[in-house]
């Protein structure tokens, strides 16, 4: 049937009235907010903060294709990890900021004795300085024998504090290096 001018106008007016009165025949779906981790690459890791060592999943952009530079977009707890089973404390929940926050520290800094501010230092200068200070302190405070004349060979002026994410292998080297210096005060909270 070919609509005449009159029927065309009737249909138009009818449609107008219908839409003005609010009859809407579109299906009532809402596009849910996009899941930002739907196609990210998941990498398992360990939270670097305390000794509990919660498991985390790091979500990175891209599928590891050759031309993609991955960037971390989200970090959350690993539900398969026996320690935390997906949960995280507020520090662990903020791990994304550990990676992408522009305010995080990217270079070594030093605060001199008596100073009230931090100054930048290069890695080479920092290691050099630490080496010299260890040598100086050890030479000054090394004890070869105790009051009763027994050989002890210990360095009492230095203590070493390790972190919680130090691995087994790293701690092996720490113990070897520090014991060879004679350091007795040796502690870490590593549980990894």
């Amino acid at each position: 049937m070919t609509p005449t001018r009159r029927t065309f106008l009737k249909i138009g007016a009818g449609g107008l009235v219908t839409s003005v009165l609010g009859f809407d025949l579109r299906p009532a779906y809402a596009q849910a907010r996009e899941l930002k981790i739907s196609r990210t690459t998941e990498t398992r890791s360990t939270c670097p903060y305390c000794a509990v060592s919660c498991g985390v999943i790091i979500h990175t952009l891209g599928d590891k294709a050759k031309n993609v530079t991955p960037q971390v977009v989200h970090v959350e707890g690993d539900p398969d990890h026996p320690i935390n089973r997906g949960t995280l404390c507020p520090k662990g929940s903020s791990l994304l900021q550990d990676i992408v926050n522009p305010r995080r520290l990217m270079k070594p800094q030093v605060r001199r004795p008596g100073s009230d501010h931090w100054e930048d230092i290069s890695w080479d200068a920092a290691i050099d300085e630490i080496g010299h200070l260890i040598k100086k302190t050890r030479d000054e405070t090394f004890v070869t024998a105790d009051a009763q004349g027994r050989t002890v060979n210990r360095c009492e002026g230095i203590a070493f504090n390790g972190g919680c994410t130090d691995t087994n292998e790293f701690n092996y080297l720490v113990v070897k290096a520090m014991r060879s210096l004679g350091v007795c005060y040796l502690e870490n909270q590593a549980r990894v």
Binding site: L21, G22, F23, D24, L25, R26, P27, A28, Y29, A30, Q31, A32, R33, E34, L35, K36, S38, H74, V75, E76, G77, P79, N84, G86, T87, L88, C89, P90, G92, S93, S94, L96, Q97
Partner: protein, 295 residues
């Protein structure tokens, strides 16, 4: 629970029924917050910020451990720290995770005049769709829990989405996943209610909280976020949780009888004009042609 796009069961500013309403089975989801095991670590606050990529705002110190006095347009989830004095004079913290309650009968949705700006999905999540929001802030007046917050720069209102993106894809909300003490739970509303009742009974019988109970207020049709409280008779002690929240009567009248009266007046007017035209015909301008030509 659906995947991808979520099916809507109620939409703001929408005349007539929602197409496809009640053509699928529903499964309402809910959060359960056990205030008795919350330690105030704020992991849920951080998880919310990180998942939703919210911008950072300054904290406000008001002689309390609380991050800021109220939730904000970019801070949807806030642990309220309330110092409470026990009967024997000793102090305790009543901590409550404050966020959108996802009411079954949401006052924000009832008050909203913009079509589809506030929707309720079939799983019970009440979500704001900012692209349709006109910034009138009627939802702020409609909410009995003081949750929707206005961003004066973008002129849009924001609040907790119950992570509708995660739930729509079969994941739990970010806050629930983070909680290290297990005081937050997520599941179907039926399961959560059962869990809450069990916990409240445990508190009454074994922990000396004789008034422990479940907060699922009927005044807003029940909520998608339910609390287990130490003392159900005094929810106000938990940072102003209303004991009997209701959608304001102004919103009810305005969106109920007044709306129908308005429609009646409009249709009556149209009929009146038509009848007048049929009875008396078009208006004839008297006088000469020159005068009649003027508008």
């Amino acid at each position: 629970m659906s995947t991808g796009a979520l099916r809507i069961q109620r939409a703001s500013g929408h005349a007539g029924p929602i197409p496809g309403e009640d053509t699928q089975r529903r499964m309402q989801v809910a959060k359960l917050i056990d205030t008795t095991t919350c330690i105030g670590c704020k992991a849920c606050e951080v998880a919310c910020l990180e998942w939703n990529d919210l911008t950072f705002r300054d904290t406000v110190f008001e002689n309390s451990y609380q991050t800021m006095p109220e939730t904000a347009w970019n801070y949807w989830n806030l642990i309220k720290f309330n110092e409470h004095q026990r009967d024997d004079g000793s102090m305790m913290f009543l901590m409550r995770k404050d966020q959108c309650m996802h009411c079954a009968d949401p006052g924000c949705l009832a008050a909203c005049p913009a079509e589809n700006a506030i929707v309720q999905y079939q799983n019970g999540i009440v979500d704001f769709q900012q692209e349709y929001c006109i910034g009138c802030q009627y939802c702020v007046t409609g909410c009995p829990f003081n949750i929707p917050k206005f961003n004066s720069q973008t002129k849009k209102v924001f609040k907790c989405t119950l992570c509708s993106d995660r739930v729509g894809q079969g994941l739990e909300p970010a806050c629930i996943k983070a909680c290290p003490t297990g005081c937050l739970h997520f599941g179907t509303k039926d399961d959560m209610k059962e869990l809450a009742e069990t916990r409240a009974q445990q508190l009454r019988e074994h922990s000396g909280y004789a008034n422990a109970g479940v907060y699922d207020p009927a005044g807003v049709g029940g909520t998608g976020v339910i609390y287990v409280l130490h003392d159900i008779t005094n929810p106000e002690a938990y940072g102003g949780l209303p004991s009997n929240p209701r959608v304001p009567w102004t919103v009810r009248i305005w969106k109920g009888p007044l709306k129908w009266l308005g429609n009646l007046a409009m249709i009556g007017g149209l009929i009146g004009v038509t009848m007048h035209y049929l009875r008396y015909g078009p208006k004839h301008v008297n006088g000469s042609g020159e005068e009649g030509g003027r508008p």
